[in-house]
């Protein structure tokens, strides 16, 4: 494998990890500080991809001290690493010298990149003074992070990261407040996308070939934990007859990768636990290591996807979203279950790399079952997927006999060793996820648009209802229906008893009106009551109509319409109406006083009582509603004729227009306060940001461009 390998026979195994990409730098051997090395070697790394073993044979000559120090370091590694890589040793050994050199370079440049290496550098310097072995041990640990996580080429990574961050903000900014059909799904999809971005995509884009995470997923009781235990060669995940068994996901990795996982780029939002606990908080993951696992890979034991504990399904799906490869475990009695096929569909949709394990197969029916399952997979378009079959055997100590999982272990080792293959798998899954964003994100955006549109609809429903009410009031004050009932009786009283005539007095000898004002007051009160009744009835109708309209809107409107009190006018509407109408009456009186300049010819002869005259005016305006009647003599009703005679047609028209628009404005204001209740109800469901959908589309597009 490298020159040092020849010095110490075991060396190749230790450093090996078999992949051309991941080299073991021997930090301890460098007397210089890592910073200097970085400056010296960085350009080379940038120009050509580092994992070319044959790239720099001269490098080793540049560092004569390497072999001796390296051997010490490697020897230390050997203590940690186990011998599983034996198969690769021979091949590695050939390239060993070349590899050695490129490792140095790699390590150095890494050192500059990686914050981890800062401490590591200190360790280095200390190490020069301290024992070599210990130093090498440190180096080993640090290597595992540095070596295995290759950042992508800067510009690509930067653009992608930028695009992904933008996407993340855009997704996070979505808010589905209205409970329309599909909102719940959209919320879940949003959470899933966010979790996947944080847990997987963003860290994965940074280090595309860092240790791969293999999720073991499947039904409850399928034996996921048993398989993980067997592969890990120890009891890392609880097994048992109780269903569901696993509640907290468990990551098992090679001890060398432990720190990388502990640091938490992948699944960064989850709390790491040392060992499974009963009271493990949701959103945590158990991280343990086992030397039986090959390097560069970690197994993730997930909770089930179909047990009664529904939180498990969520966790399992989140885990799957963060995994590079899926190992789908099902059993002979379960392989036709609907949830299992739901998971396979999901894998297909996400474009995730998949391996299927059919476990617990009774040996005597193995052939039939395997064939049948194979046919089903073929029909489903998953015939190409790699499959493993595990017989039903007795489980010892939560582990299967080694013979049963030999194939699976082989496959794992191959993946661990064959860098290209692993990288291809990781890339495929990452690409699959990014591809899936093409449909998942626009679906989210579309749903948001639905929400925005629905909100606008609901809003316009309210407006329409109250506009209708305003129109009804308008109509009632024009068609004479106001001049009915008590208003009419009082008006008859007022006019018939001669008070009408008495409001007008000849100027000479005029000294206030003698008649009791009670009839004026009675008429005024009746008119006010009539108007109030009109407004109140309109408000009532509008409230009912608004709610009825909302009820017709699917889902959300219904829920909102059930908000107590929306179906009827607000409590204080009566008081407000009274205030509004009184204010309007006062305003009209004021108008008559200030603008109703009497015709000069008339003013010489007649004085009139403003209060009564404004009352007559209101009756004329609302009761007869014929302000727009032709102004010809004799036309129009009594009040108009009287007023026209007193004030002149022009002045009367002005005042009428002003008074009417003032009434409309005041009632409109009243209605606005009423509609506010509906707007509040709408807002309580959250205000969807209309631009969020656009931002999301843009972010999705940017991501495509950046890829």
């Amino acid at each position: 494998m490298r020159s040092a390998a020849r010095n110490t026979p075991d060396h190749g195994t230790g450093a090996g990890s078999g992949d051309a990409v991941t080299e073991e730098p021997d930090i301890g051997e460098h007397p210089e500080s890592p910073g200097e090395q970085t400056i010296a070697f960085r350009p080379i790394r940038d120009d050509e991809p580092p994992p070319e073993p044959a790239s720099d044979p001269s490098g080793s000559r540049g560092r004569p001290s390497a072999p001796s120090d390296g051997s010490v370091a490697d020897a230390a590694e050997d203590a940690i690493e186990d011998g599983e890589q034996d198969a690769e040793d021979a091949a590695d050994a050939d390239n060993a010298e070349d590899l050695e050199v490129s490792e140095h370079r790699e390590d150095d440049s890494e050192g500059a990149e990686d914050a981890e290496h800062a401490e590591h550098a200190e360790d280095d310097e200390n190490a020069d003074e301290a024992e070599n072995v210990e130093d090498a041990g440190n180096a080993e640990d640090a290597d595992d992070d540095g070596v295995r996580s290759f950042p992508m080429p800067e510009p690509v990574s930067a653009a992608l990261t930028e695009a992904l961050n933008q996407l993340r903000t855009a997704v996070k900014g979505l808010h589905f407040g209205l409970d329309v059909p599909g909102a719940e799904e959209a919320r879940k999809a949003q959470a899933a996308v966010l979790a996947q971005l944080d847990d997987y995509v963003i860290p994965r884009v940074h280090m595309s070939t860092a240790p791969a995470l293999i999720a073991v997923a499947g039904s409850t009781g399928a034996g996921k934990s048993t398989i993980v235990n067997s592969l890990a060669g120890g009891k890392v995940s609880a097994t048992g007859v109780r269903r569901p068994t696993t509640a907290t996901p468990v990551i098992v990795c090679h001890p060398g990768d432990h720190e990388w996982y502990a640091r938490g780029d992948l699944l960064g939002g989850l709390e790491r636990l040392e060992e499974p606990r009963r009271d493990a908080p949701p959103g945590s993951v158990v991280l343990t290591s086992s030397p039986s696992l090959p390097r560069g890979l970690a197994l993730l034991d997930t909770p089930d996807i179909d047990s009664v504990v529904e939180e498990h399904h969520e966790i399992a799906h989140r885990m799957l979203d963060a995994a590079d490869l899926w190992v789908f475990v099902t059993t002979a009695s379960r392989y036709a279950d609907a949830p299992s096929w739901g998971l396979l569909r999901r894998a297909k949709e996400r474009g995730a790399r998949l391996v299927i394990v059919l476990s617990r197969v009774p040996p005597k029916s193995r052939e039939v079952v395997v064939k049948h399952f194979g046919r089903m997979l073929n029909e489903y378009g998953l015939g190409e997927v790699e499959r493993f079959v595990i017989n039903e055997t007795s489980v010892q100590d939560g582990r299967l006999p080694e013979i049963e999982i030999a194939d699976l272990r082989m496959w794992l080792s191959a993946l661990s060793v064959d860098d290209e293959r692993r990288e291809a798998a990781v890339k495929a899954t990452l690409n699959g996820v990014l591809n899936s964003f093409r449909t998942r994100l626009p679906a989210l955006a579309r749903h948001l648009e639905t929400q925005v549109a629905l909100r606008a609809d609901l809003r316009s429903d309210v407006d329409a209802a109250y506009m209708g009410a305003l129109a009804r009031i308008d109509e009632a004050t024009r068609d004479g229906s106001l001049l009915r009932g008590e208003v009419l009786a009082r008006w008859q009283d007022f006019a018939g008893s001669g008070d009408l005539m008495r409001t007008l007095q000849l100027r000479r000898g005029a000294k206030g009106h003698q008649q009791g004002p009670e009839r004026v007051r009675g008429l005024k009160a009746a008119l006010r009551a009539g108007l109030e009744a009109l407004v109140n009835s309109a408000v009532q109708q509008a409230a009912e109509e608004a709610v009825a309209r909302w009820r017709q809107r699917a889902g959300a409107g219904d829920r909102l319409a059930a908000t107590p009190g929306l179906g009827r006018p607000s409590e204080e509407i009566v008081r407000r109406t009274t205030r509004t109408i009184t204010a309007w009456q006062d305003h009209v009186t004021e108008l008559i006083r200030t603008e109703g300049v009497t015709k000069r010819s008339v003013a010489k002869l007649i004085s009139f009582d403003v209060e009564s005259l404004s009352l007559i005016f209101m009756i004329g305006l609302l009761g007869y509603g014929a302000t727009d009647a032709p102004a010809g003599a004799g036309a129009g009703a009594l009040p108009q004729r009287l007023l026209r005679g007193l004030l002149g047609a022009e002045s009367l028209r002005n005042i009428s227009a002003k008074a009417r628009s003032d009434l409309r404005a005041r009632v409109g204001l009243l209605f606005d306060e009423e509609t506010l209740r509906y707007v509040d109800a709408l807002d309580s469901a959250g205000i969807p940001d209309e631009a969020a959908a656009t931002r999301l589309y843009q972010a999705t597009y940017n991501l495509e461009v950046a890829r």
Partner: protein, 543 residues
Amino acid sequence: MTAVSTAETQHGLGSRLAALAKIVELGQGRLDPALLTEAAQLLLRAGDRLKLSSDHTVVALAGGTGSGKSSLFNAVSGLELSPIGVRRPTTARTHACVWGIDGAGPLLDWLQIQWRHRFARASALDKGESQLHGLILLDLPDHDSIRALTDHEAHRLIQVADLIVWVLDPQKYADASVHRRYVTELTGHDAVTVFVLNQSDRLTPEEQAECVADLEDLLRREGVTHPRVVATSATTGKGVDSLKAVLAESVAARRAAYQRLEADLDRLVLRLVKDVPELLRVEPTVDGARRAGLVDALCDAIGVSALGEALENVYAVRSGDWVGWPYARWAARLRPDPLKSLRLGAVKDDVRGLVASAVTAQPAEVDNAVQALADGLTGGMPEVWRDGVREAARSRADELPEALSEELSEVAPPLDRVPAWWWLLKIWQYLLVVMFVASLAWAGAILAYGVFKAGRPPAEVLGDVAVLPWVGLMMISVLGLGLFSAMASRNFVVLAAGKERDRLEHDMRRRVGVLAQDMVVQPVERELNRYNEFFGAMAAARR
């Protein structure tokens, strides 16, 4: 389980189902349509099931694929009736095995079991199995495989079977597909549900105990208060006898069908009641105070009291033209009229026309009055029913203003009416005027002939000066009489108007009351009765 208790159960169930039928009938448009549909389906199913053989108990073996339903079916029946296999899913069609085929045919038809999948076991031939007589054992297809996504046979039969045996196995006893979809949904069905942990031969005794305990815990958490769990193994035959014993008990009691329907009913009623947290009975009639309130409000909408006042005032004013002292009227005419100077001469005619216009009701106020009544009545009622009462109150609100106007126009006199006695008084006044003029002429004649000796008087009285004081006295008294009778008759007018007002208001109130009763109160009371009936039925269905 005696025949008596069965009959009682049946009777209780019958009346509860009748109540449910009532709920479905009255609840249209008031309850969640989905719930109503479900209730209607339950009624239909209950009707069908109760008509069919009560001697048979339909027991369904249900469970996920691969749990061993068919194996268990074969083990219980003792025959290889249902094919078993390792491919999943195995069973696609329901198989039935009947102990005592007599009378089971229609029931099997109703269950839609195909002829070729029906098997009979004459219990007489099997010694020791007579206790299973009347059992119809169904081997259902699974409900959780990908095939079940499109085939709802299992789901259908699980809904209609009398007793459900859930066949679970150690691998998938905690699957959501069983628990979420059925067990949780069928809480309260303890009496008609049995859980079987099949394939127990795969577990060690300790594991089995742990497994059963875990399953029982799980079931209790889901609301099954007394889970009946039987561990069996169809392959070794262990536990099959216990299962048979459980089945035999149910079959012998012949009550599973009722219990199942009762449990379904309980559950449905619980859901119905959930929407209506409080069962409140309301007073089915509109009490006197509210009625009076409504009439008052409607009278206000017509302006009854204002009309009365107007009547008094207008009559008093107008009577001046008829019964007043003519001299005063003439004097008033001499005063300058402001209207004349405005050249608005026709105003008086307008006023007269206005006064002549008839009584009408204000629609908005009528609306509000009706609304207020409905709101006052429905204090503690659920929202949908409040709306119902409101709708009922308004059912004829559109016609109400019109009807009120018409009805009252009949009684309310036009304000420009002229009573006959006004004419008499007017004639009397003019007679007095004529008398005054005559007296004046007489006095003039006496002055001319008697005092100034202008000539020979045509008659002696015309020239007799001594009569002159008497003539003067007569003139004064004629004037005084006019004035006095004008004042008196004005008082009479006011008095009569007051009386008429009282009569009118009374009359109007009465008529408004009648209309309100017809057009508002009655529909409201009908709705209130419906509400009470509904909740009566709800209480009855509740048991």
